[in-house]
């Protein structure tokens, strides 16, 4: 049995989540908290295997909870479960020490898997979040990098090209035309003073764009 703590200020959401988790059978909600402070107290009291924490809570928010738990219970994997889809939140959560990030909208389909993954010691982040994280780390690595002059979409295309994706795959990933992808590729080569795809891939790897 995986023992779980749920922290969310909305009881109806907590109820929904509890139901999803307990339907599974091999998981059990051992504690519920409606704000950050309570969440930390309950963790100390119940010692759960996994903590599922919302970001927007009264008192100190989910990000604060994650960083505090990182100090007090460094081995407790925390899954951030939130309404926010923006990549910036993902980056902050992972930086704070969360092991996983999931939107509430996709909870019914993915929550169980996510809990199991982080319980087993893996990270659980959506592809989109992985990408945002990689780009943020790559850009933040040094004071000034050639990446500074690239837009987000250019960075995204660069990373995908670095990972060996075809133009078609990239086009469908961002819902843009293949021709546009090619335009981005040409612009990247010019901006970064590179000659071909091989150099582009090497550049992406050297700038830590591939692995988060």
């Amino acid at each position: 049995m995986i023992r779980i703590l749920l922290a969310d200020d909305h009881s109806i959401v907590r109820d929904g989540l509890r139901r999803i988790v307990e339907e599974e059978g091999a998981m059990e909600v051992v504690a519920e908290a409606s704000d950050g402070k309570e969440a930390i107290q309950k963790v100390a009291a119940t010692r759960p295997d996994v903590a599922v924490v919302d970001i927007s809570m009264p008192g100190f928010d989910g990000l604060e909870v994650v960083s505090r738990l990182k100090d007090s219970h460094p081995n407790l994997p925390v899954l951030i479960l939130t309404m926010h889809e923006e990549a910036q939140y993902v980056v902050r959560a992972i930086e704070a020490g969360a092991m996983g990030y999931l939107t509430k909208q996709s909870a019914p389909e993915q929550l169980v898997t996510a809990i199991r993954r982080i319980y087993e010691g893996h990270r659980y982040i959506t592809d989109e979040a992985t990408e945002a994280l990689a780009l943020r780390i790559a850009k933040g690595a040094r004071a000034k990098t050639p990446l500074d002059s690239l837009s987000m979409r250019e960075l995204q295309v660069l990373r995908r090209l670095g990972m060996g994706h075809t133009n078609r795959e990239i086009a469908s990933a961002y819902n843009i035309s293949i021709k546009t992808v090619d335009t981005y590729r040409a612009r990247l080569l010019k901006k970064l003073d590179l000659r071909n795809n091989a150099e582009l891939i090497r550049f992406a790897i050297q700038n830590n764009l591939i692995a988060p």
Binding site: I12, G16, I20, P108, S151, R153
Partner: protein
């Protein structure tokens, strides 16, 4: 020119006669040289003849002696070896002592039986020489001489033969011959290279010559038959005998093949009938003998003389030419002067005429004719008075002309001429008289000046002056009216009006200004701002005035001015330059409106606006949070339930499960809508994560929505107040919205940096840009709203744009020190 030609011919003739004289002298000299050369040649030939004769006839006597010597006779009488030896001894003896070539003895048949050269290779012994004439003659009792080329020895010789008689003395029993070598003779001839000596046989075959190559050649051209006879005689070897090419001219001269002329002398050789000694001397050599010393001695003299003559001819020629040129110039100048006078008289733009003592016109200038419209032939010879009006004619006949011929001059006589067209013109006539030798005036030279126009202009000027004075009076009245109007305006306007000169001295202030200064217009004349205001205020005023003077255009300034009640009022001042006569700005006029109350109202309005905007933001944030957190959470919970239901019913009731999935999709759409609404109102990222994350999210989202590349760069940004963050975010949002909407840009850059507690946000695009001058009209671009936002947080918004060069919007705002940093 003709004179110059004559001079040239004379010079040439001089040169020619000198040359001819020189040539004649030279020719004469040459003739005498030739004569002398001829005499010399004659003497020479004579000497040669004697000399040659001595050589080739020397052996005639010894031959006779030899013929009588008993040993010789004995050898012929009994020709045995014993008798031949003494004969040979005798021959040897003769040969040695006579210094002859060979001495030999022939028998009756011509066979040589003894010879001095019997032991030599070319021994004559055994050879028969009966064909030789010297043998045939001797055998017929006649001693003979003969010149020939030896047939056995090949040596030229002079042969002397003598018959040898036996005891009976009836017929010769043999012949003795002494041959002397011609080579030796030739050597003794020894002559210079320019002399040619030839010894020829009667036919002209050259036998002896001081020119080896001429030997055996033919002096004259011979016929074939004659040449054959030479061959037959065997006298001159085998031939061939070529012609030397010489031709005889005038019996004295000879011409060779290349045309050289020789002087020829000839004489007979004694004892050799028909043989000649010929002496040729080149005429060129003779001439050279004459000319060389002549040229050497007289050459320089002749040359110097020629040069001197040449120089003097040239010098004289130059002198003469100059003289000619000078004369021509004088002639030309005279002609020109005459022509000028005539031309001047005719073309002077003045009416000139001359009359004789009878008052008849004898000449008039072109201008005179032109002015009056007559032809010259209609005028000359007629009375001058015929061309005057009636009154002028009387005046002229009665007083002017008699007076003129008496005194000889008159000046400024007012006449009226009648033109051919009938028109009358006014003139002033002045004249002087030309006098004859006796001093009587014979003709006049008169100048008439047309004063018709002048008189007319004077009258017109008078009229214009009257008109002007009337106009001036009207103008003065207008000025008075305007002055009254302007004075009223200045007195009653609530604005402050002043005029200062270039150096800042007041020249005029209006009533309103008088009240503020508490001084009258007269009192402030010549004072400056420094005299009237505190230094700080005066400095500012002067600064603005100088800017107007410098830029020479009007400006608006906001200025502050202290009032007598102690308060300071704000003024909106329009200042513009006055221009002096020289076009320079001569002073500044200022019209200032009191805007103190307006500014107060503006400030209130701004405070109100700020609080409205802040309230709006707060409300938006609250609504956004409400939507996102409350409604969003509820919808999420609902979605979880609907998914749970659909799974539950999957097996039992598939239709209901599908219904639940439809519900789920509806909820998903609702969640998206709610999220979108919330973000549009105020993005949670801005409140939760700060400005940098908010801008990062927004630029990425902007790029995704618009396909305009958007680069966001930022430095480390410290924690800043929410109001500044909001203003910066909203300004960036507004600027990028404009880029998407208006700029037709392909790229935008957002940059956020801090520097010395100042935040700087820059939004740049590469789009169309716009005219910053038209900024007020581009309200739709939201520039006004952005400026308002910037002002409300104490910042400053700069918009830089030009058509075709994109737009740059920059916010600068200072923020107070706060501890802590965030990225």
């Amino acid at each position: 020119m003709r004179l110059r030609l004559i001079l040239l011919v004379l010079s040439l003739l001089t040169f020619l006669s000198t040359s001819i004289g020189g040539y004649l002298y030279y020719h004469n000299l040459k003739e005498s040289a030739l004569l002398e050369a001829e005499q010399q040649a004659e003497i020479r030939v004579e000497m040669l003849r004697i000399n040659l004769n001595a050589q080739i006839s020397a052996n005639i006597r010894p031959a006779r002696v030899l013929a009588g010597i008993p040993e010789i006779v004995a050898a012929l009488s009994s020709p045995a070896a014993a008798s031949l030896d003494p004969a040979n001894q005798v021959l040897d003896h003769f040969q040695r002592n006579l210094n002859a070539d060979v001495c030999y003895l022939m028998d009756r048949t011509g066979l040589t039986i003894a010879s001095s050269n019997r032991n030599a290779m070319d021994s004559f012994v055994g050879h028969n020489f009966d064909f030789r004439p010297y043998f045939t003659k001797a055998i017929q009792h006649t001693p003979a001489t003969y010149l020939a080329l030896g047939t056995t020895s090949g040596v030229r010789g002079a042969y002397s033969s003598c018959p040898v008689y036996g005891a009976d003395r009836a017929a010769p029993i043999g012949v003795v011959v002494i041959k002397a070598s011609i080579e030796e003779v030739e050597e003794e001839l020894g002559l210079g290279p320019e002399d040619i000596i030839l010894v020829t046989n009667p036919l002209g075959v050259i036998f002896i010559s001081n020119r080896a190559q001429w030997r055996y050649q033919l002096l004259w051209d011979l016929s074939q038959e004659e040449i054959e006879s030479i061959g037959r005689s065997r006298q001159f070897g085998e031939g061939p005998w070529r012609w030397t090419g010489l031709k005889l001219r005038d019996d004295r001269y000879v011409l060779d093949q290349i045309g050289r002329r020789y002087l020829m002398n000839r004489t007979q050789v004694e004892n050799y009938p028909g043989w000649n000694i010929i002496h040729l001397r080149s005429l060129d050599a003779i001439a050279k003998v004459v000319s060389e010393p002549l040229i050497r001695i007289t050459g320089p003299v002749v040359f110097t003389a020629s040069i001197l003559i040449g120089f003097s001819v040239f010098f004289l020629y130059q002198k003469a030419s100059q003289e000619i040129v000078k004369r021509k110039e004088i002639q030309k100048a005279l002609g020109e002067s005459e022509g000028r006078y005539r031309s001047l008289y005719n073309h002077t733009p003045a009416m000139l005429h001359s009359i004789d003592s009878d008052g008849r016109l004898i000449s008039v200038s072109d201008f005179w004719l032109q002015a009056l419209g007559y032809r010259r032939e209609d005028v000359i010879g007629r009375q001058l008075t015929d061309f005057l009006t009636e009154s002028s004619r009387l005046f002229a006949e009665r007083s002017v002309i008699p007076e003129f011929f008496r005194t000889g001059a008159c000046q400024d006589i007012p006449y009226q001429f009648r033109k051919a067209s009938g028109e009358v013109i006014d003139v002033l006539l002045s004249a002087v008289a030309e006098r004859d030798d006796a001093g009587r005036p014979v003709r006049s030279l008169a100048v008439s000046i047309d004063v018709t126009e002048r008189n007319r202009a004077e009258r017109a000027l008078q009229l214009a002056q009257e008109e002007l004075s009337r106009y001036t009076r009207g103008l003065e009245k207008q000025v008075q009216e305007r002055t009254r109007e302007i004075t009223s305006i200045l007195r009653y306007t609530p604005d402050v009006v002043s005029i200062k000169d270039r150096d800042g001295h007041y020249t005029l202030i209006n009533t309103c200004f008088e009240a503020i200064l508490e001084r009258s217009n007269d009192e402030v004349q010549g004072l400056t701002d420094e005299d009237l205001f505190p230094p700080e205020v005066a400095r500012k005023f002067r600064e603005n005035d100088l800017k107007v003077l410098r830029e020479r255009r009007s400006f608006q300034f906001e200025e502050q001015m202290p009032h007598p009640d102690g308060t300071t009022h704000d003024y909106l001042s329009v200042k513009f330059p006055f221009y002096g006569a020289d076009g320079d700005a001569s002073g500044v006029c200022e019209i200032s409106t009191d805007i103190t109350d307006v500014i107060k109202a503006q400030k209130q309005l701004r405070r109100l606006s700020a609080s409205i905007m802040a309230g709006q933001e707060k409300e938006r944030a609250a609504i956004a949070r409400e939507l996102h957190d409350e409604l969003g959470q509820v919808l999420t919970a609902l979605r979880m339930d609907s998914v749970w239901i659909s799974r539950r019913l999957e097996a039992a009731d598939p239709a209901a499960a599908e219904r639940a999935r439809d519900m789920c999709r509806l909820i998903d759409k609702n969640i998206e809508d709610v999220r979108g609404m919330a973000i549009r109102l105020r993005p949670g990222v801005l409140d939760d994560l700060g400005l940098v994350d908010a801008l990062e999210w927004f630029t990425a989202d902007f790029e995704k929505r618009t396909n305009i590349t958007c680069v966001f760069e930022h430095s480390r940004i410290p924690v800043i107040s929410e109001s500044i963050a909001t203003a910066a975010y909203r300004i960036a949002q507004e600027a990028l919205t404009n880029v998407a909407r208006h700029a037709r840009a392909s790229r935008a850059e957002v940059e956020l940096v801090t520097h010395d507690r100042q935040l700087q946000l820059t939004v740049v695009d590469d789009g169309d840009g716009f005219e910053t001058e038209n900024l007020s009209e581009s309200e739709g671009l939201g520039v006004a709203g952005m400026k308002e936002r910037a002002n409300l947080v104490g910042g400053d918004l700069e918009v830089r744009a030009a058509p075709g060069e994109g737009t740059r919007i920059r916010l600068r705002v200072s923020f107070p020190d706060e501890p802590g940093e965030m990225t």
